[in-house]
């Protein structure tokens, strides 16, 4: 459903050009929950921002559904963002002047299709994520976890092909993180959503079907969870993840040490 092929992206700082993504290849299947992990500077957020069409990229292709994103004009990209993608940000990005319910409806309002059906869906999402009791409140009056669940609900209002989540648990305590991850699971299991999440949190990643480890702008390793969702299996997957991360870090330090010699 999402195909990324040979993606390259670099940033310019003064006269110097820094290559951040160096030929990334990956895919996300329908109803799959995929996480991307990696150390700071590995290119996780840049990858997500490229897929989100928030920043332009130089080389490669991104195909969502059957649509190639490169070459689309700003209006077409906006349409993709609105109809095919849902977004969850680390710092929530809710609009402070709107209530929780109104925030959930924003993508529909942008689409110009707020009808009874949409309102009913918003109410269902509120109820699904356990935030129906704060529907009339403003973001400033609710907790971080509730704000992030609002953002998850908002990402689903247009029933997109893919939800893109950038460090969704980064600003949350463990209890709220758990609630947000459960929201994603609910979204996948009950609404058939596909999720692509960037995270630093191995606990959050251990709920995913697949975790892609990025290092220095390339895919270092892909780990797949064993089927099923029991706590034991999740915990074992988290251990495998931590091992892989450790291995990646060791290689990194070895390289540094060798370089030093």
């Amino acid at each position: 459903m999402l195909y990324v092929k040979n993606l390259h992206k670099s940033y310019q700082s003064g006269n110097k050009s820094y290559s951040v993504l160096k030929g990334i290849n990956l895919s996300v299947a329908d109803q799959e929950f995929v996480a991307v992990m990696g150390p700071s500077g590995s290119g996780k957020s840049t990858l997500l921002n490229c897929i989100s069409c928030y920043i332009p990229f130089e080389q490669g292709t991104i195909t969502l559904g059957n649509k190639e994103l490169k070459g689309l004009d700003e209006n077409a990209l906006a349409k993709v963002r609105n109809e095919k993608l849902g977004f969850v940000f680390q710092d929530f990005m809710l609009l402070d002047g709107l209530t929780i319910r109104e925030n959930i409806l924003v993508p529909r309002i942008i689409q110009g299709k707020v009808d009874l059906k949409a309102e009913k869906l918003a109410d269902q999402l509120l109820s699904l994520f356990g935030i129906d009791h704060i529907a009339g409140k403003y973001p400033a009056d609710v907790s971080g976890g509730e704000r992030q669940r609002t953002a998850v609900a908002r990402s689903l209002i247009n029933q997109p092909l893919l939800i893109l989540a950038d460090e969704p648990t980064g600003n949350l305590d463990s209890k709220s993180s758990r609630a947000v991850i459960e929201s994603f699971e609910n979204a996948r299991n009950k609404l058939g959503a596909s999720i692509f999440m960037v995270t630093h949190d191995s606990f959050a990643a251990s709920f995913c079907d697949r975790v892609i480890l990025l290092k220095d702008g390339t895919v270092y390793k892909t780990l797949e969870a064993s089927p099923g969702c029991q706590e034991e299996k999740r915990s074992a997957f988290q251990d495998r993840l931590l091992d892989a991360i450790r291995e990646m870090s060791n290689i990194n330090s070895d390289q540094t040490a060798t370089g030093g010699i």
Binding site: R81, E83, P107, I109
Partner: protein, 700 residues
């Protein structure tokens, strides 16, 4: 809420507080610009400030500075508004709203906000002017000339500024929505604006550039005239540009390096300096604008002491209480008449002295205007009128001995020799305008007597030469000068009575200003031209308005009466003085508001830094010190640099006028210094108020 329009409306309502600062900045800018232009183009001011005169030029120059300041201020406010708005715009764009969808709503919002704030500012400008001007009239001085009149053409300037504000906000709106990197838009609010770091060389280079710009800007018109024999074009003012570059470098040094030695105390003010550096771009811009406006304030306020101290010293140093002169064909009171008038006020006169003079035509070098801006010099036989005493008459009048060789003449200057501009030192022929007999003559230098300095200069001739050229002269080309003192303390009522009675003796043939020259008129007529003094360019004065500035300042036969000049000075020059006081108030208000707004923005933008410092255990005293470290430079630097630079520039101007500083100028500059100290005190109070508000906002 089902449409994007409704959503935007709700968000706008919720963002009213965020828009508050933008509304305030626009409102203040338009209020100040409207107020300034309303006064600058008011008939009240234009009728008094002479066309083409220095005071009008200064008024316009400071207006340009204020305009520059307000333009930068509104661009800043607009940028600030959009930075705050960016998170909202970015979120909507991230969720799939296209620029095309958002543009109409955003444009409508900024147009509404800008229009509302600008129109409110324009409307408030007029009551503001009326309130301020009438307060001057009520509490400081009043005269018939000070009645406030508006010419609503000033609204063109406000309208132009209004268009700038609208254009700025629309361009900003368009710029934001056109950005392709949505992440940048979303995080715009937290984006730092570090200023480009230059070395410590920028401070000394800045000072050098200021000096260079001041010298180049001042002297280039003279050099141009000398080199090209043409009036200097307006673009020569661009030579002042290094002053602004120099100021910018000094502001940059303040923000990047600070003024305390970092070698000795590398960690001193580290946090305050780094906070300032990372918001550097806007801080440097704000400091520059505030400095320029503070300099404008100083320039405007200096006008008052420089005029009044010099005038006061001149009046007090006069050796006689009364001096007047009159044409011989006019019958004015004699000694007995004056004694009788004084007796009405139980006073007597003493030291009565009178001496005759001749009004003779002098030849000399005239500036002849060619095509375009070019000119050339040419000797003309009837250049100007001069009033000539004989040696004996001069001695009788002044008590000073003088000896002039036959065929020579001396010009009477003041002791400081600062009034040489009006005197002709190049005459070779004098002509009796009744007989057209002429006398070859040579300039033999200056003699001094302060009381006899006037626009139509006085000269002294050898007694025999005087006798020979006086032959056949008619009364209209002759006159008498008179001095006397009051025995005891003079009385203002007597002075006023004397003045009005004196005017009543004169016929309409003497109802003209001092720079109306009968000899120059003759020269123009001989050349078949219309004398410029008979055109509309000439200031009209009237016996019916003896208390106006024009009459008292320019009437050819205006007597010098010590008590009248002392008492009526403020009233006579009220429009001049109050206009410059008004300008100073406008500029200082603008500077203070800009500094205050900048400090509050710094507090707003660095809130998270202060919160982190609190978490790290910083005490309230430490936090307050850091707040002062932010607000201090924003107020101190414009005050110190703006005031010092203008003080030195003013001294340079005074010195460059005649190559010396007169006692009046030194006295005036001393008073200017006191005023600056007072003004700095007001800035300090505003600084204290600002720090208090920053502490409140940051909950320190």
């Amino acid at each position: 809420m089902t449409t994007l329009k409704q959503l935007e409306k709700k968000l706008q309502k919720a963002d009213a507080k965020m828009a508050g600062l933008y509304l305030f900045c626009n409102f203040i800018s338009l209020l100040l610009i409207t107020a300034y232009s309303a006064m600058m183009l008011s008939p009240t001011v234009l009728l008094v400030l002479p066309e083409g005169g220095d005071s009008r030029k200064q008024m316009t120059a400071i207006f340009v500075l204020a305009l520059f300041g307000c333009v930068v201020f509104t661009i800043y406010a607009s940028g600030l508004f959009f930075r705050k708005k960016a998170k909202q715009l970015g979120t909507l764009m991230a969720l799939g709203a296209s620029g095309r969808q958002l543009l109409p709503g955003l444009l409508k919002e900024v147009l509404l906000l800008s229009s509302f704030s600008c129109l409110a500012g324009i409307l408030a400008g007029f009551p503001f002017v009326a309130l301020l001007w009438n307060s001057f009239r009520l509490f400081l001085t009043d005269s018939a000339q000070m009645v406030l009149k508006f010419d609503f053409k000033c609204l063109y300037l406000s309208a132009a500024f209004f268009v700038i504000v609208i254009a700025c906000s629309c361009i900003n709106a368009y710029r934001y929505l056109k950005r392709t990197n949505i992440m940048d838009v979303m995080h715009e609010e937290h984006r730092n604006e570090p200023v480009k770091e230059l070395g410590t060389w920028c401070a000394p280079v800045g000072f050098l550039l200021i000096l260079l710009g001041a010298a180049l800007g001042y002297f280039s018109p003279y050099a141009y005239q000398k080199l090209f024999s043409a009036y200097s074009p307006a673009w020569l003012n661009l030579f002042y540009a290094p002053v602004f570059i120099g100021l910018y470098l000094i502001m940059l040094h303040t923000v990047v390096h600070g003024w305390s030695s970092r070698r000795k105390h590398p960690y001193k003010n580290l946090i305050a300096r780094s906070m300032m550096k990372f918001q550097g771009k806007q801080t440097v811009n704000n400091l520059l604008v505030s400095t320029v406006l503070t300099a404008g304030t100083a320039f405007a306020i200096f006008y008052i002491p420089m005029i009044s101290v010099g005038h006061s010293m001149e009046v007090n140093s006069r050796p006689y209480d009364y001096y007047y002169h009159y044409r011989a064909d006019q019958t004015v009171f004699d000694k007995e008449g004056i004694s009788a008038l004084a007796a009405k006020y139980d006073l007597a006169i003493k030291d009565f002295k009178t001496a005759p003079y001749l009004s003779l035509a002098m030849d000399g070098i005239d500036t002849i205007e060619d095509e375009g801006r070019n000119f050339h010099y040419e000797r003309v036989p009837f250049l100007m009128e001069g009033k000539f005493f004989s040696e004996t008459a001069f001695e009788t009048l002044t008590g000073a001995e003088i000896s002039i060789a036959p065929g020579n003449y001396m010009a009477i200057s003041n002791t400081d020799e600062t009034a040489l501009y009006y005197l002709n030192s190049e005459a070779e022929v004098l002509t009796n305008m009744a007989t057209y007999d002429s006398l070859p003559i040579s300039f033999a230098g200056y003699t001094h007597y302060d009381l006899l300095v006037s626009e139509k200069g006085y000269y002294v001739l050898n007694d025999n030469d005087y006798e020979s050229i006086a032959a056949g002269i008619t009364p209209e080309w002759a006159g008498n000068a008179v001095f006397f003192n009051i025995d005891g303390k003079d009385n203002y009522s007597l002075a006023e009575d004397f003045f009005y009675t004196f005017i009543s003796f004169f016929g309409p043939e003497c109802e003209y200003p001092s720079y109306y020259d009968r000899v120059a008129k003759y020269q123009a007529q001989q050349a078949g031209k219309v004398y410029w003094g008979d055109t509309e360019q000439m200031t009209q004065i009237s016996y019916l308005e003896p208390d106006t500035t024009d009459f008292r300042y320019y009437w050819t036969y205006m007597p010098k009466i010590r008590i009248l000049d002392q008492t009526d000075f403020l009233r006579t020059f009220s429009v001049f003085l109050m206009m410059f006081l008004f300008i100073a108030i406008i500029c200082s208000l603008a500077a203070m508001i800009i500094s205050y707004t900048r400090c509050m923005t710094i507090a707003l933008n660095n809130r998270y830094v202060f919160e982190d410092l609190k978490r790290l255990g910083a005490s309230p005293a430490f936090l307050k010190k850091e707040i002062k470290g932010q607000a201090g430079p924003v107020f101190q630097i414009p005050t110190i640099v703006g005031m010092t630079a203008m003080y030195l520039l003013y001294m340079l101007l005074m010195f460059a006028n005649d190559g010396k500083l007169t006692s009046g100028e030194i006295g005036g500059m001393a008073v200017c210094l006191l005023i600056l100290i007072f003004l700095a005190g007001i800035y300090y109070l505003i600084y204290r108020y600002t720090v208090k508000n920053m502490c409140r906002q940051l909950e320190v």
